[in-house]
């Protein structure tokens, strides 16, 4: 009986390790390749540890294209999107969780179903709308949606959080004559700070990782984001894998750093998504 349990446990770990290897190997391979010169990278059978470590790949990759400019552009978009989502989503979610008005459930239902709408359907009309306003080739089309509820998903998530707050707290304040604005700012917000972090992190990632949006809306090279810059890099330095991997590492690093900082919140946020969908 004991040995059987042991074998079973071993098997479980074996499968998990295999899965872990599958998850990590590509990233290890990326970093390994980003530190080699072209000669080492083409060697067969492959070497795992670069010798010597060639950190100059990074400086080379970063100077070929104005990655600094791209970084600033991406950051501007990300920050304004985050602020927009945090402000407008939390207010709207509060309304859906705590206030009653005619048509609320209908609107919320519509919002939820809009999560299932393929973005491809709204891409073209939205693009034409922005271009008729002469606002393509600016960051506005990439930031504006964040200021209008920023996607049903975030509202849904925050509403779930708000519903989990005991009503006694705000009801007492309400009876005492506090307005909704007061309740929202001084009771709900402080209690749901972790939820706001989750939403902020998701927005950061979505915005940082966005490719199609910038691809469609940004024309001028000086307005490009990191994702677009990387794509451009591919066209110019095809098959110079050491440089391509170095550039990819640079684009990926901030996302990874943010992930590790906010790891706890991420897992919590995803967990909430699946429940009671």
């Amino acid at each position: 009986m004991r040995t059987k349990a042991w074998v079973e446990k071993g098997l479980v770990y074996l499968v998990l390790m295999a899965g872990g290897l599958f998850s990590l190997l590509p990233l290890i391979w990326l970093i390994r390749s980003s530190l080699m010169d072209m000669g080492q990278i083409f060697e067969l059978p492959p070497i795992w540890i670069p010798n010597p470590f060639r950190f100059s790949n990074f400086s080379e990759a970063l100077t070929i294209l104005p990655f600094g400019r791209y970084f600033i552009n991406t950051t501007v978009i990300v920050i304004f999107s985050m602020i927009g989502v945090l402000v407008t989503c939390s207010i709207s979610a509060y309304s859906f969780a705590r206030m009653s008005w005619r048509g609320r459930d209908l609107i919320f239902g519509l919002l939820l179903s809009s999560m299932m709408l393929p973005y491809a359907v709204t891409l073209i009309p939205t693009f034409i709308g922005w271009s008729k306003l002469g606002l393509t080739n600016s960051f506005i089309p990439l930031i504006a949606p964040a200021w209008f509820g920023g996607g049903a998903f975030n509202i849904f998530l925050l509403r779930q959080f708000y519903l989990s707050i005991p009503r006694d707290l705000d009801e007492a304040a309400y009876v005492d004559g506090a307005s909704h604005g007061r309740i929202f700012i001084s009771i709900i917000i402080p209690l749901t700070r972790p939820a706001l972090v989750v939403v902020g992190l998701f927005t950061f990632l979505a915005s940082w990782n966005d490719f199609l949006g910038p691809l469609v809306y940004l024309n001028d090279e000086s307005k490009y984001t990191l994702a677009l810059g990387l794509q451009q890099f591919k066209g110019m330095y095809a098959a110079e894998w050491h440089l391509m991997m170095a550039a990819a590492t640079v684009v990926l690093a901030p996302a990874i750093i943010v992930f590790f900082i906010g790891q706890r919140y991420f897992i919590e946020g995803i967990t909430l998504t699946g429940i009671k969908a």
Binding site: M38, F42, L44, I64, V76, F80, I83, G84, P125, F127, I128, G129, W130, S131, K132, L133, G134, L135, T136, N137, S138, F139, I140, I143, A144, W147, F148, L215, V216, Y217, N219, D220, E221, Q231, Q232, G235, M236, Y237, A238, A239, E240, W241
Partner: protein
């Protein structure tokens, strides 16, 4: 009726967003368009070509490598110095996304005044978006049609043109001379009359192909899966296979441009020969193997390939790579045939300053003003620059770093004397036809279909797209 109100409503909605956005995020950083940065302290002197002293700003979109970008920007400075009342707002857009970005600008009523352009410009001409070059030419005696290379025209109808090439490039054979020396092989011929017959070319390529153990393709035990150095890298686009198709007496379209030509035996034979380099002789990389071969200059420098057949714009990179490189004439099947290709500068109808745009397009099209680019990246599009020895010397002197020994014979004369129209500016609807052809050819290069089979299939697909030719 409902159509109109629908759009108005949408407009109103969008206006609302903007109003809200502006109030919501006040000083939202630098996210507005490029528009208002008029640099306004040069007093207008109003000379050189431009009629009025009024300040004029032109928006100009272009693509190109970092070197090209720099040279074009220098040319812009020179133009601005000569025309102080004109400022050029140049927007560099990477080539891969160019059309899509330009379309976006046009849709947003933000079209540039003038732009680089590729084959898609002809559709813009048909849609009335750009000026007819022939109309503009009428009022300017300095531009004459016969001054240009015969086929250097992008026309969308017999009397309607999107302009001549702004500069030319050609298909070119480039090589690393050290690798020839090491293999003890004679360098490629530089005169069209002495061009390699196909079999000679294949034999040479074999001698220059090495597997991991230093064996050649005909040696026993040669390992085609582990080739260290390829004899030749053939760029697998029409730029490279069309000279061979033409050389064999075939063409892209035949029968006055009404019939698909690539499915005919003369063409499929030529295409099959190139595919055989990959799959039979193992002297050229397949598309798969090519994915681990860098751009031509780097590939030659890093000894991944001994010869490259690709566009002549690579000469510039080669001259900077500091290797012992050279150029030869293309291999042939029968006659020597090749072509010039190039883009043209288009002027949009929406421009408020057609006169200044015209002056700028003339300036940038005159090799004299971008001579540096003509000494490595480009070739002129004016006949005189091929005939007047002094002019030839200014751009094709073989002492120039971008012009190796043999350049005048192997690249300049061989093309000038044997030029056919390039399919790109000759064939109507080329962009869509070529998309289907390129997809079909994938299978040929990968060796899963013969050229004849694949082109037969493509023929059925492109039949409804074929609408004749423009030039010949």
């Amino acid at each position: 009726m409902s159509r109109h109100t629908g759009r108005t409503k949408l407009m109103v909605l969008f206006l609302m967003i903007i109003a809200l956005l502006v109030t919501a995020c006040g000083n939202g950083g630098n996210q507005t368009g490029t528009a208002n940065s008029d640099s306004g302290n040069n007093p207008a002197t109003g000379e050189a070509g431009t009629a009025t002293g009024e300040k004029v700003k032109l928006k100009f979109t272009f693509w190109g490598s970092p070197q090209e970008k720099k040279a074009v920007e220098d040319a812009i400075k020179a133009f601005e110095a000569k025309n102080p009342n004109v400022t050029i707002d140049s927007i560099h857009i990477p080539g891969t996304d160019f059309l899509q970005k330009l379309n976006a600008m046009i849709a947003g009523n933000e079209a540039p005044d003038l732009s680089y352009s590729a084959a898609w410009k002809l559709k813009m001409g048909e849609e009335g978006l750009i000026y007819n070059f022939f109309d503009l030419m009428k009022d300017d005696p300095s531009i004459k049609k016969e001054d240009y290379l015969q086929y250097a025209w992008w026309n969308w109808d017999t009397d309607k043109s999107a302009g001549p090439y702004q500069a030319s490039v050609v298909p070119s054979l480039m090589y690393n001379a050290d690798l020839f020396k090491e293999a003890g092989v004679e360098l490629p011929p530089t005169k069209a009359e002495e061009a390699w017959q196909w079999d000679e070319f294949v034999e040479t390529a074999k001698k220059l192909t090495l597997d991991r153990n230093g064996k050649h393709p005909d040696d026993p035990g040669f390992d085609p899966k582990n080739i260290k150095q390829y004899g030749v890298k053939y760029s697998l686009s029409w730029l490279s296979y069309m000279p061979l198709v033409l050389s064999n007496g075939g063409d892209y379209l035949i029968g006055d441009g009404k019939e698909f030509g690539l499915s005919k035996p003369e063409a499929t034979e030529a295409i099959q020969k190139i595919a055989d380099l990959i799959n039979v002789h193992h002297v050229a990389p397949s598309p798969v193997q090519a994915s681990s071969i860098p751009a031509p200059a780097t590939a030659l420098q890093s000894r991944k390939v001994a010869m490259v057949i690709d566009g002549s714009w690579n000469h510039l990179d080669l001259s900077k790579a500091k290797i012992n490189w050279g150029v030869g004439v293309l291999p042939v099947l029968k006659d020597y045939k090749t072509f010039f290709l190039g883009g043209s500068l288009i002027i949009f109808k929406s421009t408020k300053h057609p006169k200044e745009a015209w002056e700028f397009s003339k300036f940038l099209t005159d090799p004299q003003n971008v001579l540096e680019l003509h000494q490595g990246l480009w070739m002129p599009q004016l006949k005189q620059w091929y005939e007047d020895p002094k002019l030839v010397d200014s751009w094709a002197n073989e002492e120039l770093p971008g012009r190796p020994a043999g350049f005048q014979d192997a690249v300049m004369r061989s093309t000038y004397e044997h030029a056919e129209p390039s399919p790109e500016n000759n064939i109507r609807n080329f962009v869509e036809i070529d998309a289907a052809v390129t997809a079909g050819l994938d299978q040929v290069w990968l060796g899963t279909k013969t050229a004849a089979e694949a082109m037969k299939e493509v023929e059925a697909k492109v039949k409804p797209l074929i609408q004749g030719t423009y030039l010949k």
